[in-house]
């Protein structure tokens, strides 16, 4: 099975060949993997502010730039370029990150960006895709390429066993009418399904998190009152979206995610998932506490 990252490089190479509007702007990361000599493949060196500015300039000329590196260097270091060069100038680009919250667990905090979706989502007009499987990268990438908008696609090593369609909130398991609605985002689905296997819960899947499918959330909740978000990045990132979706309905929300971005531990991604309560046992313990 290929990784999300490998899927992206293959799709990116095809896009360069198939669509003359597409240009790639990289900053060393991924250059050797892509090994592209295409004239619209640009490597700007280790210059991430330039990378986003160049993408904006290309977009002003009608191109569809695809920009790629590790999440902290793609959206945190050049954050003002996302806000101004792209947003304020009202042009689009496709930003594709790798690394997720703690793929680079042994590399430490510098290479981790669990806050990425929260800060990109704070800017107006962004679509954010969090695929949960390598086969979900292609539909997300194709949707992004045919639009002119600003799109952030977040790729990580974690993966569910099977691909699902999460462009809208889709219910995969139905509990009783009073059961909590547990919304698993992207790679959190399998752990969420395992955590809820013996519980009365409705489990839904979502991979397009901005714009957030508020109508889908209301419909999936039915007559219930309890919502649990299971997000692979900063806890509470989509809490305000749930609050707005349910503004006229008494409800309870438990937003699971990365609780402590400054963990100061190395180790493996699985060890980090467990430490943040995002493995099946941790999610199950949170659900039981929430129901109590």
């Amino acid at each position: 099975m290929s990784s999300m990252r490998q899927s992206f490089y293959r799709l990116a190479a095809d896009a360069l060949d198939d669509d003359e509007r597409v240009a790639m702007v990289f900053a060393e990361i991924g250059v050797s993997e892509m090994a592209s000599s295409h004239p619209r493949f640009y490597n700007v060196g280790i210059r991430e502010q330039l990378m986003v500015g160049v993408a904006a300039g290309l977009a002003l000329e009608g191109m569809r730039p695809v920009v790629h590196t590790y999440a902290p260097f793609l959206v945190e270091r050049p954050y003002e370029m996302l806000k101004l060069d792209l947003g304020h100038n009202d042009v689009g680009a496709v930003l594709v990150s790798i690394g997720g919250s703690f793929d680079a667990s042994a590399s430490g905090r510098t290479h981790q960006a669990p806050e990425d979706v929260a800060i990109v989502g704070a800017l107006p007009g962004w679509t954010i895709e969090v695929p949960g499987h390598a086969d979900e990268v292609e539909p997300a990438f194709r949707r992004a390429l045919v639009s002119d908008g600003r799109v952030y696609i977040r790729l990580e090593l974690g993966s569910n066993a099977e691909a699902h369609d999460g462009a809208r909130l889709s219910v995969l398991r139905r509990g009783s009418d009073a059961a909590p609605l547990v919304v698993a985002v992207g790679p959190m689905l399998d752990a969420t399904l395992a955590a809820t296997a013996e519980l009365d819960a409705t489990v839904a899947y979502l991979s397009t998190v901005r714009p957030f499918d508020r109508a889908g959330l209301r419909a999936a909740l039915g007559a219930g009152t309890d919502v649990v978000l299971v997000e692979p990045y900063l806890a509470g990132t989509s809490a305000a979206e749930v609050a707005r979706a349910l503004v006229d309905r008494p409800h309870r929300l438990f937003a699971l995610g990365v609780e402590n971005p400054e963990l100061r531990r190395y180790g493996t991604p699985d060890e980090h998932r467990a430490a943040q309560g995002l493995d099946a046992a941790g999610i199950r313990a949170s659900l039981l506490a929430f129901a109590a």
Binding site: V54, A56, G57
Partner: protein, 212 residues
């Protein structure tokens, strides 16, 4: 950009007065005025782009756009007010003739670099103090190293950078692979010649020297 010359250089102070309401224009306060006039009057062609990276103090810019018929002169009144499309920093989405939204320093060169990659001839204006921002140098280095010949930058040098540029701004660009010419920022013929000195093989810098 289609230009319709309805005003001359001598009309610019009056147009700036409509923006600021100030009758006593100190010409030197608008350090960019002559550079902008030479660009719009003599250099820019219809299919060129101009990105004002130094978005601070855009009255000269708006006045030149109005003088060249790219902006209705009646829009100059009420500059910065609720109903105006002209703010203290220009917004391309709002203001006719404006090709870049700017104001935060150090963004224009990278964007100009991206646009120039498509083969488009691009001009961008920066200030000497703006060059303090490190983001500029990412663009200067890369554009120079890849020989991005469609990129033209004018640095208006009125020595407002607190720590200065020992040896001159142009030294740093030349080291990275640019051609560079220093010109009197008030002398229109000298400025025109400096812009036309681009060799078609390297990105080109004009340092427009202006006394404060």
């Amino acid at each position: 950009m289609a230009t319709m010359t309805t005003y001359t250089y001598d009309d610019l102070p009056a147009l700036m007065t409509r923006l600021t309401g100030d009758e006593k224009h100190d010409r030197s306060s608008a350090s960019t005025l002559d550079v902008l006039w030479v660009l719009y009057d003599r250099i820019l062609r219809d299919d060129d782009r101009f990105f004002l990276s130094k978005g601070h103090g855009p009255t000269a810019y708006y006045a030149v756009l109005a003088a060249k018929g790219l902006l209705d002169v009646d829009e100059l009144d009420g500059f910065g007010s609720w109903d105006s499309r002209l703010g203290y920093h220009p917004d391309r989405v709002l203001a006719p003739g404006v090709e870049l939204s700017s104001g935060s320093l150090g963004h224009g060169l990278a964007i100009a670099t991206g646009a120039a990659l498509t083969g488009r001839r691009v001009f961008s204006l920066v200030g000497d103090a703006e060059l303090d921002e490190g983001s500029n140098w990412e663009a200067v280095q890369w554009a120079g190293r890849i020989g991005l010949e469609t990129l033209n930058v004018v640095a208006v040098d009125n020595r407002s950078a607190t720590y200065g540029w020992p040896g001159g701004i142009e030294k740093r660009f030349e080291l990275e692979g640019w051609t560079a010419v220093r010109a009197d920022g008030r002398d229109h013929d000298e400025l025109e010649a400096a812009f036309r000195a681009a060799d078609g093989e390297h990105p080109h810098l004009v340092v427009a020297e202006v006394r404060r």
